[in-house]
Amino acid sequence: AQSVTQLDSQVPVFEEAPVELRCNYSSSVSVYLFWYVQYPNQGLQLLLKYLSGSTLVESINGFEAEFNKSQTSFHLRKPSVHISDTAEYFCAVRDASGGSYIPTFGRGTSLIVHP
């Protein structure tokens, strides 16, 4: 069984400041890791994912996440946030060993960017 913990339910930050959204997971097998973003009253969209290879993955809008196997973490970072980054962010994990492909989601972190 897998679990995902998003340590912060809400992260307020000022525009142009850096931000880190934390995600830790627990799994007895190797995993794939995902970050999704949800804008108000919309569905989720994939932001980035780690499957294999380089532990640092980037999105097209300036976010990055680093897979840390020893710390079982996949924290999401952005060096300078914009008002438009205000949204709910979900971390998810899926079994990479060939078992169930059903993802496990964290509870989400609400990023609130103030002007």
Partner: protein, 114 residues
């Protein structure tokens, strides 16, 4: 390109009334289909998933049911709604079974049970 539709976008229903939410996917074949519920501050709860027509797996026992009458159609139903059924319902699809594939989500249905 692939698209996913959900309707209605919003719904207000009295307790005890029936429910039918529909999800359709275009541009792909034999997708895996999912129904999630999102309650305020509680993240995503997987309700049902389907790997093919007529194949439904339930993750949480409740008064909801799901059906997949066609390859790209997924329906969420209830015979009698409860207050606790209120929430934001999301349909999603993916292809493959390796776990590395991305899930694509629909725009959601906001259900309020009064």
């Amino acid at each position: 390109s692939q698209t996913i539709h959900q309707w209605p976008a919003t719904l207000v229903q009295p307790v005890g009334s029936p429910l039918s939410l529909e999800c359709t996917v275009e541009g792909t074949s034999n997708p895996n289909l999912y129904w999630y519920r999102q309650a305020a501050g509680r993240g995503l709860q997987l309700l049902f998933y389907s790997v093919g027509i007529g194949q439904i797996s339930s993750e949480v026992p409740q008064n909801l049911s799901a059906s997949r009458p066609q390859d790209r159609q997924f329906i969420l139903s209830s015979k009698k709604l409860l207050l606790s059924d209120s929430g934001f319902y999301l349909c999603a699809w993916s292809v493959g079974s390796s776990g590395s594939d991305t899930q694509y989500f629909g725009p959601g249905t906001r259900l309020t049970v009064l």
